[in-house]
Subunit: 230 residues, 2 copies
């Protein structure tokens, strides 16, 4: 038996698992989408959920996979950080809205003990542990530095202490994880927030419907901004 059946008229919304979901759900609900009860059951093994709208399903996947689901049309809509969107740089993904949540930054960090004697303007080659090899290579190539990337999916902040490499490119929110590992930020690469991601083919073939969804998310964000301003 399948988790749910998918018709041509279905809109699949891909949402990221993990901490960011807490910030995403109020927006999704203000846009009029209420997932079935199983969505809030921490023990569920379901990945695809019904909602109050018979035409809308939610799929909950890793944040990196959100972009791929949307790019290949497995989801028509998604919520993904611009870190993920920049890393894949899928031409099939249109990101019309900054949702203003999941704020953090992408930075280059290195051991505090190195900083005094290290001049980034003199780098010609760097070895970097990161989840973002494509962004990292582009960032350094733009100023003529060749970056050798060691791809890790997590625990980047351990890499310098364990001798994997001296520098990392990672997301930084408060900076407390870096600090706890004796690291400091030495370059800022980008500011990160979550975006609404839209499959371009769906937007072309179902413009009214997809346009209406974008509008509902836009209003959902404005509701928050208004509440913040009041």
């Amino acid at each position: 038996m399948l988790d749910a059946s998918i018709a041509d008229s279905t809109i699949v919304l891909a949402l990221p698992r993990g901490r960011i979901l807490r910030d995403v759900m109020p927006l999704v609900k203000r846009a009029g989408i209420e997932p079935e009860a199983a969505f809030d059951d921490p023990k569920t093994r379901k990945l695809l959920f019904d909602t109050n709208d018979p035409n809308v399903k939610i799929v909950r996947v890793r944040s990196f996979d959100v972009a791929t689901f949307v790019a290949f049309g497995a989801a028509q809509l998604g919520v993904a950080g611009n870190d993920v969107l920049m890393e894949f740089d899928y031409p099939e993904v249109y990101a019309p809205l900054d949702l203003g949540i999941g704020k953090c930054r992408m930075s280059v960090a290195e051991p505090a003990a190195m900083v005094a004697s290290d001049d980034p303007s003199r780098w010609s080659h760097v070895r970097v542990a990161t989840k973002y090899p494509s962004i990292t290579r582009k960032h350094f190539a733009a100023r003529g530095v060749q970056a050798e990337c060691i791809e890790l999916s997590g625990a980047m902040e351990l890499a310098p202490n364990l001798g994997l490499c001296r520098r990392i490119v990672d997301l930084v929110e408060t900076g407390s994880t870096l600090k706890a590992n004796g690291l400091v930020e030495v370059e800022h690469i980008a500011d990160i927030t979550s975006r609404l991601a839209v499959n371009r083919a769906a937007l072309k073939t179902r413009p009214d419907e997809m346009g209406a969804w974008i509008e509902r998310f836009r209003e959902a964000i404005e509701d928050v901004s208004d509440a913040d301003a009041a």
Copy 2:
């Protein structure tokens, strides 16, 4: 303040996070390594742990990252599935021991509804969702089939139902997840178990010490086999 200081004499053991850890820890303990209490605290944010042996630290990372930590010498020892070892195929990693845990298989699966009309021997090009693009391409290339891989880190079993692609390559343990998603296995790629992974440079520069650790893990496995046989 750092999580722990790393001396040249330290042995770092990289262990995979998640479900497999339950099966790994009894072996690690029989090999004489007892992690500090924080290791069992589900709320800890620590990644690097002290043990009863002042020369041994444990780092807990994603299974894919275990291979990278060992290959680059950030860990001298690790536990990783041969799925991960095959995918990366790092020449710097030596895998002398099958630990006999984490048993599953890697398979090609497709919708049950397709099977009757689908003849794998006539494929010339397949589009496959997988976490293992390198293994997948090699598997298909060996019989002249070109595989276009869509890389996902999870939720592969959703891909056929959502129209991402019709086939997936994934790990299968009991088969219940495939079944729940209307998929069936059509090809077996490899049998998977966890292996002891050893950094080759460490084995060359510290042969007695590393050799002794391999021996301790070998004895730890034999203890289990003896208990099973009794």
